[in-house]
């Protein structure tokens, strides 16, 4: 599994960036990126994203 972002839904509020304890998320202007090497898939960001833009998916699908 890996955490992914649906760029059509993300409204770049920056909330997930400030709660991820593993420093895995970066907001480059309006483009969110998740560093799979840092993410431990705790799912916190997926739960709290106000836009429902984050989701987990099988790695093969990406």
């Amino acid at each position: 599994m890996a955490v992914n972002v649906d760029v059509n839904k993300c409204c770049y509020c920056g909330g997930c960036v400030s709660i991820c304890k593993y420093d895995a998320i970066t907001l480059k202007e309006t483009v969110l990126t998740i560093d799979n090497n840092k993410c431990i898939e705790c799912n916190l960001c997926v739960e709290v994203c106000p836009a429902g833009a984050l989701f987990t998916a099988e790695k093969e699908e990406i």
């Binding site: 509020c13 909330g15 970066t26 202007e29 106000p50 836009a51």
Partner: protein
């Protein structure tokens, strides 16, 4: 390589005021903003009190969407109380896209170099300076004696400098705001509505924007937000009930810190300001005023340090002291009030507004409101005595 006395990272109100303050003293300042334009996209409901604007700016008409005379407070059960602002604590609903842009222009006019679409990617600390890696249309590096981190809620600059700013889900609100057209509201008053079914851990706001327009939004505590029931779910529910005819002309989403101010917002050769230092008011989420105040104080501190050529951590302690004295200690107390307030049931909120509705609106202010609301909570009453409102 370009060399600067200070690089200010983040072009919100905190960063622009800091850059302006230092540039006015004649030092070489670079203000960097990762977005394409200062002030856009807006991430704010745009309410601010007159006292902060007056302190740091010459208020311009074009910044103001509406002057505000007072607030209407409502409970989930439909109880209502009115708060009439006196002349000194009048408020404004800003147009932040114009306001933020103009503040950046003021920094530039004072002599700062300002650049948008320039994101700081990495910082390297050398013996007497920083190397700052920037990604814009091109990648480049600048050298600076000092840094001000003004990078807002999602800011990572403090982390790069060794200060942990990660927030707990209980210390962050997700805010969503719609600018609605075709609404019929009293354009002189803001409205705030509490309730666990309306906005868990937060509140709904209705801020007039002139004519038939309003900013209607809410904040939901991240720890109480779920994938299904998130800020959008609650706002759509509220708007479809209260303003079924309105159309949405703008959507604003953003995270609001409702945390305690950072224990340490300084270090060797750097300072942290505004939302990046977690300085917004934890009860209300308002952060513009504290951003301006901390930005100005940081600007003064860095200017003095540049004059003396002393950037030691010890010398920057003074900044923390000043910020805490002017706004930080108040924020810290409001944190405890927020923690008490989010435990309120809907019935508690109904009872609170009922009590408040019995007070003369001319005499009702934030201090009185909280004193009445928490009359049985000794701890908070003693906190209130010490708050300077």
């Amino acid at each position: 390589m370009e060399k600067y006395d200070t690089v200010v990272i983040g072009g919100g109100p905190a960063g622009s005021i800091a850059a302006r303050t230092i540039a006015e003293k004649g030092f070489k300042v670079l203000l960097l903003e990762k977005r394409q334009e200062f002030g856009r996209p807006v991430r704010c409901a745009e309410g601010v009190s007159k006292k902060w604007l007056e302190k740091y700016t010459d208020i311009k008409d074009k910044w103001i969407s509406r002057p505000i005379k007072g607030a209407i407070l409502k409970s989930p059960g439909g109880k209502k109380a009115l708060m009439q602002y006196n002349e000194s604590d009048r408020g404004y609903i800003l147009d932040r896209s114009v306001f933020d842009f103009d503040l950046a222009v003021e920094a530039s006019e004072s002599g700062a170099t300002v650049r948008t679409k320039n994101r700081v990617e990495r910082i390297e600390r050398n013996k007497d300076s920083f190397k700052i890696y920037i990604e814009g249309f091109n990648k480049y590096i600048v050298e600076s004696k000092t840094i001000i981190a003004a990078d807002g809620v999602e800011g990572k600059i403090p982390r790069m400098l060794g200060i942990n700013t990660i927030l707990d889900p209980g210390d962050i609100e997700f805010g969503l705001n719609y600018q609605l057209e075709g609404v019929d509201i009293n354009q002189d008053y803001i409205e705030m509505i509490g309730g666990n079914e309306l906005a868990p851990g937060g509140y709904v706001w209705i801020f007039p924007k002139g004519e038939h327009s309003a900013n209607v939004g809410l904040g939901v505590l991240a720890s109480r937000s779920t994938k299904e029931k998130n800020a959008k779910y609650f706002l759509d529910k509220f708007v479809s009930k209260r303003f079924p005819e309105a159309s949405i002309s703008k959507v604003v989403a953003g995270a609001v810190t409702v945390a305690k101010p950072l224990k340490k917002m300084y270090g060797n050769s750097f300072l942290i300001v505004g939302d990046s230092a977690r300085l917004s008011n934890p009860l209300t989420g308002a952060g513009i005023g504290n951003a301006l105040e901390s930005g100005a104080l940081a600007g003064e501190t860095i200017s003095k340090a540049l004059e003396k050529n002393d950037f030691s951590e010890n010398n920057f302690k003074e900044y923390q002291k000043k910020v805490m004295k002017s706004v930080g200690n108040t924020s810290k107390k409001f944190y405890h009030i927020k923690e008490a307030f989010i435990k309120f049931s809907d019935k508690d909120i109904d009872d609170m507004i009922t009590l408040l509705s019995q007070v003369d609106p001319e005499k009702l202010n934030l201090k009185k409101l909280l004193t009445i609301t928490f009359k049985n909570n000794k701890e908070i009453i003693s906190l209130l005595k010490k708050i300077v409102f």
